[in-house]
Amino acid sequence: MRKALTSAAAVALVVAGCAGMEGNDAELQKQAAEVMKRDFHARGIAKMDRLNQDELQRVCTETRDNPSPEVQKRLEAAEMAKIKLPADGQYLGDWKQGRSIARRGRGMAWNDKPGKTSRGEPNGGGCYNCHEMSPQETSFGSVGPSLRAFGKTRGYGVEIQKYAYMRIYNSKAFSACSTMPRFGPSHSLTEQQIKDVTAYLMDPNSPVNK
């Protein structure tokens, strides 16, 4: 009987322990950050501050990309405020340059250089890693939605140009826990590069719209 009680108590402890573990994600998240900060080291351009979560990264981790509507709205407003529109009011650059940025997936990793890939080219946007764009490019990912005929289906007007520019600059202004990187705020792409990619989506002569 005593033995049975002891095992019952042990089971209860284990169950309580598990419940505590499952229920206390903030504590676990803190522990994960501590372990990673102890185990990682800076290498090349990838410094240790990259492990520090900003509020958006922390909330998206904590909620598994499902924040409450109020929190989501607040995060998106903060991201919106980070978007710098082009001073000259021009959203479209050179679609041919945009195509090579869309194709290139390198940049920002520890073996890359500041603003450049390990091969010395400007950072890529990696668009094709996740999105379908031009019908001529058959190797495309499926993490993000298809952008095929982007301008053709939405119209080539300046409002859509502006929207595309903003979305590339900081997708999290529109969807807080989106998988898409914040290319402007993270200094991954320059203003000119973002214009070039916008042109690749929005120029009527771009293969994306053919």
């Binding site: 573990m21 990682f40 990838a46 979560q53 981790t61 598994r64 495309f140 499926s142 993490v143 998988t179």
Partner: protein
Amino acid sequence: MRDATTLWVMIVLAAGFTAPAAAQTDPKTAEEFDRFRAIMEEANPAELFEVKGEELWKKKRGPKNASLEQCDLGLGPGVVKGAYVQLPRYFADTDKVMDVEQRVVHCMITLQGFKYADLAKRPFSSAKATPDPISIVTYIAAQSKGMEIAVPQSHLKERETYALGREIFFYRAGAWDFSCASCHGQDNLRIRTQPLPNFTKADQAPRSFVGWPGYRMTGGVMHTLQWRLNDCFRQQRFPEPGYVSDTLTALLTYMGVNANGHEYNGPGIKR
């Protein structure tokens, strides 16, 4: 041995022509590559590293001039058969959960007198050299061929390590806000034409375990999961994780437990 070398050269040559094409083209080519891989697995160059690893396991080496035959991989000193599919696991002597490579390095340090700093200096294979722990892990892995993946969860620390690994898996940070789950937390995702297994689901999680360690035809080198996770973090735009660090053990525990029940078919072959 001469035959094996000739075969190996042929395979490397074939790989050199085939692998880059397969990496960039349509899903049909990916299917053809899978068929090609099935044929290659019949004569996987990983076997050469198994042989080298067995020699390294049994030979007296290091400042203490000892073999690894007293190394306890979790099933008792010197027991290699079945150890790989039950790692990571809790070890009482270190009072922590360790994965296979962390344990091998631990044994090389404690039994043979090697230094961690020396082993961590160049931990991954290159065209020029294959570090000893990689051959040793390949040998250990081969002794679990055909066995069921059974990463234990009976010890409290094993369950805590699983929970920690899950949290690291979902930890979003870095220049591009990625976590492991950004690529490996949903079904049917692809980067370019490369399908991404969803490691949170039992039906796909075995792909984090099966096929590793793997002989990678691109470059013709043998890699373990230590390399694979290191390269994931590079692409995640994170700083670099330490070699055989607890972060990696936790992730390997999370993914390994999710893969439990699936058959392990020994060291594999990669594009």
